[in-house]
């Protein structure tokens, strides 16, 4: 088993065997098949994986923001500073959302309410979680806009989202998320929808503010390059499971899961700039609808032997603060 106390005691978020299912017309989809990972105070954890592997579902499960009718977290624990979020009442959970755990979404164009000014929307977060008066909250909103480097914040607080560009709206989302100085910021592909020229700026802004506020960040991304540049540790997901987790240095030096290796082998040439999407690995991503026997990566895996098709490997320590879910990790690393 993977050791639970790896790397110290300052664990902010401890996710244990988290299982989330979707209920569709054609049956149950186990979007998360029991994932475990930790985030320590102040660190940046990268979460990578191909589209549909469950990154967003993980984020939404933590904040309990899954669509009520079609999804449910059916098992596991989400310990935030020792308290299991899954056991909290809805009002208790509301006190945590936006105040102690905040989230930035992928789509800045549609994630702001079109009929309220951006100032109102930032101030609202402040007023929900503090006793601030409206004018104090608006002052805070202006201060946050300045912090995320929106020019002319005095005027911009009164803007509606449609009066702003995508990059500016994402800055507003960041301002809103950080207005109550949360302990954890979940950023779900915060730059994917933006212009390439703006992506780096937004990323740098998040990291700078995180540093200043001491916030831990769970950075969901398609981009291994971003993980290498910005994160201390990383989690690699495949088909609703974590297949490898390690410090970023270790992950790049000694990728131990064939899937991680595949991702890196086809990683973009740094001289040609960063790639937006993860590179293609031969084969297709398995459908979560049909139950998978054995390792879900086995059909695409060059190392697969018979056990891989029969039994699902669990995460095992392969080094200090480094775990992989692979029956053949020794051979994989040695190769």
């Amino acid at each position: 088993m993977q050791s639970r106390n790896a790397g110290g005691d300052d664990v902010l978020l401890d996710v244990l065997d988290l299982e989330t299912h979707f209920y569709g017309e054609d049956g149950v989809v186990p979007a998360l098949g029991g994932i475990s990972f930790q985030i320590r105070s102040g660190e940046t954890l990268g979460v990578v994986g191909e589209s549909g592997c469950g990154k967003s579902v993980t984020a939404l499960s933590i904040l309990r923001l899954l669509p009520k009718l079609s999804a449910k977290t059916v098992g596991g624990e989400i310990r935030f500073r020792g308290r299991d979020l899954l056991k909290l009442s809805e009002p208790e959970m509301r006190l945590i959302r936006g105040d102690r755990i905040a989230m930035i979404f992928q789509e800045p164009m549609t994630s702001l309410n079109p009929v309220h000014t951006v100032g109102d929307q930032i101030a609202e977060a402040v007023q929900i979680h503090t006793k601030a008066s409206r004018s104090e909250a608006m002052a805070r909103a202006q201060e946050m806009l300045r912090l995320v480097r929106i020019a002319d914040p005095e005027r911009r607080v009164n803007n509606y989202p449609y009066e702003m560009s995508g990059g500016m709206r994402q800055r507003v989302m960041i301002a809103m998320a950080l207005a109550c100085t949360p302990e954890l910021l979940i950023a779900d592909e915060p730059t994917t929808a933006l212009d390439v020229t703006i992506q780096a700026q937004i990323l740098r802004l998040i990291l700078e503010l995180k540093q200043r506020m001491g916030t831990a960040v769970m950075l969901i991304t398609h981009d291994l390059g971003v993980v290498a540049e910005t994160c201390q540790r990383a989690v690699v997901m495949y088909a609703g499971r974590i297949v490898e987790q390690a410090t970023v240095r270790d992950l790049f030096a000694r990728p131990t899961h064939p899937y991680t290796q595949g991702l890196m082998r086809s990683a973009p040439d740094p001289r040609r700039g960063r790639q937006r999407r993860l590179p293609e690995i031969p084969g297709i991503v398995p459908s979560l609808r049909e139950p998978i026997a054995g390792c879900s990566f086995a059909p695409r895996c060059p190392y697969a032997i018979s056990i891989c098709h029969e039994k699902t490997p669990s995460l095992r320590d392969v080094g200090p603060d480094h775990a992989a879910a692979c029956w053949r990790s020794e051979e994989v690393v040695g190769a």
């Binding site: 904040l63 945590i96 105040d99 905040a102 977060a125 929900i128």
Partner: protein, 313 residues
């Protein structure tokens, strides 16, 4: 914005002219001698001649129309054949009960309809939602007079909680005024509530699935704030539209409700005028009601800008 208002005004005037032509022709093109039609079956020839004189029926149609329109624009809607009093005066006298009933109904139905629709959308698929849908279907299909007599039977005859019928002006005291209007308001409002609730539910369902609703939840907003602060304003344009369009439904409902509850309002005036073939009164009421309808919808269109900042004219 100013240009838009002017444009809307011009189109409103065009609509009114068309309504005017229609109402004008309604009488003149009906088979037979309009004067005889107006005067009724066993009218003496002198009366028919007098009416012919009053309507200027000897002139060519276009001239008749211009003269007719001119007098209406100067506030002269003609005189009632039955009572011999100016039509405008008759309508103004009957205005208070009708306005009381309409305004109360709009307030009551909008509040109830929006609340029901919001609740149904929030609990979509659940028992409350299905119960409300069933209620809406029923409320929309049962005729106004059936509802009216049923309510009178239950609340005024079986239990003597509310007056059976009639109207008390405001100056006789707010409490009696209100007591007399409760049953008529519920009667008239039921279908309107169903209409508003349906549109609210559909519009809210769409809005609740939007990304910004998840953002609001991620901030820690309460369900109440999510529904009424974040969602309702976004769902508002179709709701406001149906409230405006439903006004036509309200106008026809007022006539029936006033008859059922014996309220001496413009609706009753109209029914009486039709029974008496009092054409000048019918014409006057038709013109005033159409004018009101056109104006309400103009106000509704302009108020879109208040709820959605992206709408600019």
């Amino acid at each position: 914005m100013v240009a838009y208002i002017i444009r809307r005004f011009v189109s409103a005037i065009t609509v009114m002219v068309m309504v005017g032509v229609f109402i004008f022709l309604l009488l003149r093109l009906s088979p037979g001698d309009p004067a005889a039609v107006i005067a009724g079956d066993s009218a003496p020839p002198e009366l028919i001649a007098g009416i012919r004189q009053q309507l200027g029926l000897g002139d060519p149609l276009p001239i008749q129309f211009v003269l007719w329109a001119k007098s209406i624009l100067s506030g002269n809607f003609g005189t009632s054949i039955f009572t011999g009093r100016p039509v405008l005066q008759l309508v103004l006298q009957r205005l208070e009960p009708t306005i009381s009933l309409s305004v109360l109904t709009i307030i009551f139905s909008s509040a109830t309809g929006i609340a029901f629709g919001t609740l149904a959308a929030w609990r979509a698929g659940a028992l409350v939602d299905r119960a409300l849908s069933a209620f809406a279907a029923l409320a929309f299909s049962v005729p106004v007079f059936v509802v009216g007599y049923l309510l009178i039977y239950c609340f005024a005859i079986s239990k003597h909680w509310l007056p059976v019928q009639g109207y008390e002006p405001v100056e006789h005291g707010l409490a009696t005024w209100f007591a007399h209007l409760i049953l008529p308001t519920v009667t008239l409002g039921l279908g309107y509530i169903a209409l508003i609730a349906r549109i609210t539910r559909a519009s809210m369902l769409e809005v609740l699935a939007e990304d910004y609703m998840r953002t609001a939840a991620a901030k820690g907003a309460s369900s109440f704030s999510m529904l009424f602060h974040h969602a309702l304003k976004n769902a508002g344009v179709p709701i406001l539209t149906v409230i405006g369009l439903g006004f036509a439904y309200l106008i026809s409902g007022v006539v029936i409700t006033e008859t059922v509850f014996n309220i001496p309002g413009v609706g009753r005036l109209t029914v009486d005028a039709i029974n008496n073939r009092d054409y000048p009164v019918i014409q006057g009421v038709l013109i005033l009601a159409s004018g009101l309808y056109v104006m309400i919808n103009l106000v509704v269109d302009l108020s879109y800008t208040l709820i959605d900042p992206r709408i600019r004219y």
